[in-house]
Subunit: 407 residues, 4 copies
């Protein structure tokens, strides 16, 4: 029982009740509060000015949906203890806590092979030690070692409340209305069969829509070409900054960012060294932006041009194609940059970037989405759907991006 | 120029300006006002209590979208004269004017082979005579005899403003949020190439979403099993009423409905006889409901049971299957009805109904949806989409419905 | 426990769960289903084409808010038994069940001194007899004879869930966005002190907004001049129809409507005669519309002109003024009608109407809205608000409407 | 004419067209892009996690409403030249460009008497020089020296598009739904009479609602006690940082922030010195946050405690009262802080703050809101409203806030 009822005003779901003091304590902890300073969509705000919502806000929304899902399952007669319920709520609240600013950018630049799930787990373990084991169930659910495995599926699976929240929330804040999914309908249709999450058969159209909406959001938002261009630009900027730091340049940076510019950090460091860990959880979007602004005037033409472009929203131009970019064209561009800026070929290489991007709607290596029929039988959606089939669902769409500095 | 600016408050699109006095005159005409008494979704309100919106409201919404589409095309440099613009606006306003109440029900019961498009055209022609040819362009656009054929496509095609409005509006009023389509985005992406409507390539995800949302709305709303059960029940009720009338029974009915109960009317009658035409345009949802209520106490067990069921929302039970219903089961049911109600096999047959229902996402016999690329090339969406293909898009989904009176 | 969970899709509040089988039985009963055929806002659809929502839909919405309010009060530690909870839910579901079509119109024409609350009570009592007393608590709450009087306040008071739903719902369907009230916030702030509903002090701004939004909806929607003109026209039409019926004319009408045209019915008749009661509950919007359409061609110039005007939306012109309308102007108009239509002065009087309309924001004769402070003290909002005061809140705004037939 | 049509996706107003290349150039300029890094509501995100929207987004929304207002006025027959239209659009886009991060905080700490309007003007003048006078009309409109004074009123007045946007937008992103105003309705009702903005009389209820919604947003959002507590805490933190800097401490800060910590800057400096100006426009929310994080570990107990509180959302506790806070209570608190933290009375004074906050609904010293009647007469809303009067409208509501560090 809460001493004082706490409510959070959410433009997406309305009033969100915080269910109890334990959950409130997690929300109040600096680890979660830090997510208030990390945007959910990183560079997407370059394209969608409304997309300023934070990972904190998303975590709260996912907790709300988890609560809805658990209530619904209990109403259908499933037994879920209070401890399990708290565990699932805590696990979803903390599932993103290990994210750094501009996650994918960081993972390719400032750290090596440090996946945010690992850091999230590390942070949960630290909290668990602090709170005398109160997070043990949450950790087991998160790691999928808890016996009731559907709880893990709700936290992380093809149809978890993480996705249900972020698709809906990202659609809301970007204004891409077609990305809106029927999260409430899907949650009402959830059930558990043989310890596995299933969806009642009449929810099948909402599921098909969910899969397609997710795909739409990928290409319309997450992999929007301008956003991808900005991300490439940011990656190259941070790589250049790291290179310069290694070469002895003293770039302006916050203490936390400086640590990562000067040191090569892998996941082992996080487990061994408080400095790596503490520096990481001190980092947020602000550190990146402040440095970018300061670097605009740094006397390295590469670093300053890239930083200035990001600060003034003069982003990489980007071309998308089903084919890899033409090598000759790349060479020509690099030569131009060398000549124009008086830089080396290595330096010029920071002004271009290319990548193959892939999405699929449904990953058959993950758990499947199973449909429950009235006769008790269960089918994978790839079989149940008269619209999709496994070939289509697991088809990978590949696009080649080629990005380069504008004149 | 309007003497007095007219604005309609629409919860879906906000304020809708009525562009000029000619359009205002159409809206004020009794033909269009009559649509205020015909619900857009007929029996769907049995399932979705919010789905009370009218064909009038839809017509206004479609006019708004037409205006948006025309403005957008003009902004892109296309020449559309004021007469053409008025013609397209008038055509879309009047495109549904020939609908009767519960259209598909009527077409299977009270009239024979009378498609609403024919009556709409007849009504436009009458108005055109009244207004000295002011609707000539509108009629040509409607009939697809006007040279700029993309104007007809906007009125009636795979991507017309009719569908763009009704999907969005039906989604809004039913509360089926996943049916929401990005109508604004699609309209912004419209262009014309070789006198044919095309969509800019970056709108392709919105189009895929539009096709899937349409499919979802079919199964979730338009062909919702309870709604189909109600529709079958209403069809059988009206067929029974017609049979009884032919046999000399004097059933309560409004003058207009009585005309159709007593006479066998085909489209020829509409063209030749003012009585058929006038009776038809006097009919609306109210006539059906008032008769159903009166028939609840009529001393024919078939008519009264069916009417009572509709009035009290005790609807046909319905089963859906990929296979046709079992004949033996049907026979058994009929026997039970005969015994229970003391009626003949013929009479009992009104208590059951079965049908195969089919939908597809994209009808290749209609005009195609064409995608315009930056290099000026054009591809059918069935080719352009990396998600859909022509086989999938034109795949017909068939379901067998079997409906019968509840105990 | 529900055998089968029932959910209603509401575009205003999302999915609404039907809490149990008893409540479901009420919803399924023909008395409540009948409200599906009565629009919440009667003639307002002449102005706001989206305002087609029904009294059934409103009743469901109010039940949802009652459920929210009860859950919230229980969470604050108040004891409410299951029987009381069901009673309150049943009372709010049934609170409008006695409404006829176009209620205020009817009360001035077809019946005498028959307030809908009385009929609602009569209907509840009939159901209670049918269901062996299961509605006893609901009836006591409705009549305010139940000991926990705050339950009655939730059903009918200055801050009842009836108002909370209809303001929000009417705002939603008309598109008058400013009428949107913070119903969720107000419900979260509700508490009970000394058996009386109170609102936590931090909800005071939402309350002020609620009172002003209610006032805005009055003038912008409920008393919109076009709607008032339509209502006056409908009243005069029905009065004329009744007069003609008394004089021996046989007007087309449904059996139920005919009963009220031919007989003078007061509340006593309802209690004594099944015929009055049964006829009343057979009446809905459809009966009125079908008759209006039939009367368009009736050979009484008054009845046909008025009916035609309503059917074709050629409504009374209306003038609003702080002063009563000028008698000389009235006389002149009447003379013109006499001359133009060749009718008597008495007959011409049906072509005009005038009335003084009054609203206030807060009726001090009703229960007060009380604010609860953290120190446990309670103040009337008229005292607590730094914006309003009792004089302002209870100030009655009066406007004179003068309506007359257009040329 | 735009070479390439530009559209911005806005979750509040849908798609926003950028009208032409001139306006697009303003939007792309670094001055406006910088507003992407300044939140509209500063500290309010501590209370409303969705309130992350930026001043850039608000500026775009206000431009959209300006465009709507101008189109509407032109449709009513008012002549507005293209130059004037561009001037008004530019003026509203740039009206907030001089805001710093957490504006009111800054104005009380880092700079002296530097109002953002002055800086906005300075920035417009710099752009005007750059663009050869293209902003001359915009500047005149902004300064209210342009002959058509209603254009200035649209930029800055009691009913300007600034307020119309921010109330609606802040309501949207906070989720405080009652703050939603009928911006579209008000804009449709705007007209000009004697070179002054007026509102058609039937818009009066929307105006009353607008004034009350604004008041609600003040107390519910802008002056929410937790937000005020956070603001006081931030003010004291920056004051302490400045004091320490003056005393020779070298605190971590971005170059731009360091400039303001080390120097005492007034508006004169901005006009004279490029360094002040350039430092100012390099500042945004990120600079403040990065420093707060760094200061958490600084060995000054005052600075670190305050910074830590802000970073971890352990904010000042705040009490509100109609009376000034008790001096004895203050003294007691200060003594406790001195003892607990081992600091001087001067240092302890950073841990408390008090202020009287005032709002009114309508400032009679500003221009009035005038209502236009059908007979052409005009009345101040304070006279025209039957709800408000001038006494009530101009009544100042005062509340005393007392804020202090939590244990």
């Amino acid at each position: 029982m809460l001493q004082k009822r706490k409510i959070i005003n959410d433009p997406v779901f309305g009033f969100i009740n915080i269910p109890n003091d334990f959950i409130y304590a997690i929300i109040q902890h600096p680890y979660l509060q830090r997510l208030n300073r990390i945007r959910q969509l990183g560079v997407a705000a370059f394209v969608y000015p409304g997309a300023q919502h934070t990972r904190f806000h998303h975590s709260i929304g996912a907790m709300y949906l988890m609560n809805e899902a658990l209530s619904n399952l209990k109403m259908k007669g499933l037994h879920i203890s209070e401890e399990e319920s708290d565990g699932a709520l805590a696990a979803i609240l903390l599932h993103d806590v290990g994210h750094g600013p501009f996650s994918h950018v960081l993972e390719q630049t400032l750290v090596q092979d440090v996946r945010h799930e690992k850091i999230s787990l590390l942070m949960m373990q630290k909290l668990n030690a602090l709170w005398n084991g109160k997070l043990t169930t949450a950790i087991e659910i998160f790691k999928d070692t808890y016996p009731k495995r559907f709880l893990h599926q709700l936290v992380s699976g093809q149809l978890d409340v993480d996705r249900l929240d972020y698709l809906r929330r990202d659609s809301f804040f970007t204004g891409v209305v077609e990305g809106n999914i029927g999260s409430a309908r899907i949650i009402k249709m959830l059930d558990v069969k043989n310890d596995k999450l299933v969806v009642e058969s009449k929810g099948i159209y909402s599921l098909e829509n969910f899969l397609l909406a997710r795909r739409l959001m990928y290409w319309q938002v997450y992999l929007h070409k301008t956003a991808v261009g900005a991300e490439k630009m940011l990656i190259n900027t941070l790589k250049r900054a790291k290179e310069l730091s290694h070469d002895g340049h003293r770039l302006f940076a916050s203490p936390a960012l400086e640590y990562f510019l000067r040191n090569d950090i892998s996941i082992d460091n996080f487990e061994e060294s408080n400095e790596a860990f503490d520096s990481f959880i001190s980092l947020d979007d602000n550190d990146i932006w402040v440095s970018l602004k300061a670097w605009c005037t740094y006397p390295d033409v590469v670093l300053s041009a890239l930083s200035r472009g990001l600060v003034d929203r003069n982003l990489f131009k980007i071309e998308i194609s089903p084919e890899p970019p033409d090598e000759a064209k790349k060479e020509l561009l690099l030569e131009e940059y060398c000549r124009k800026y008086g830089i080396s070929a290595h330096e010029a290489s920071y002004f271009i970037a290319s990548e193959m991007l892939v999405t699929d709607m449904y990953n058959e290596n993950d758990d499947s989405i199973d449909i429950l029929y009235k006769d008790g039988s269960v089918k994978d959606i790839a079989v149940a759907s008269d619209m999709f089939n496994i070939e289509l669902l697991s088809k990978k769409i590949e696009k080649y991006y080629f990005a380069y500095l504008r004149d």
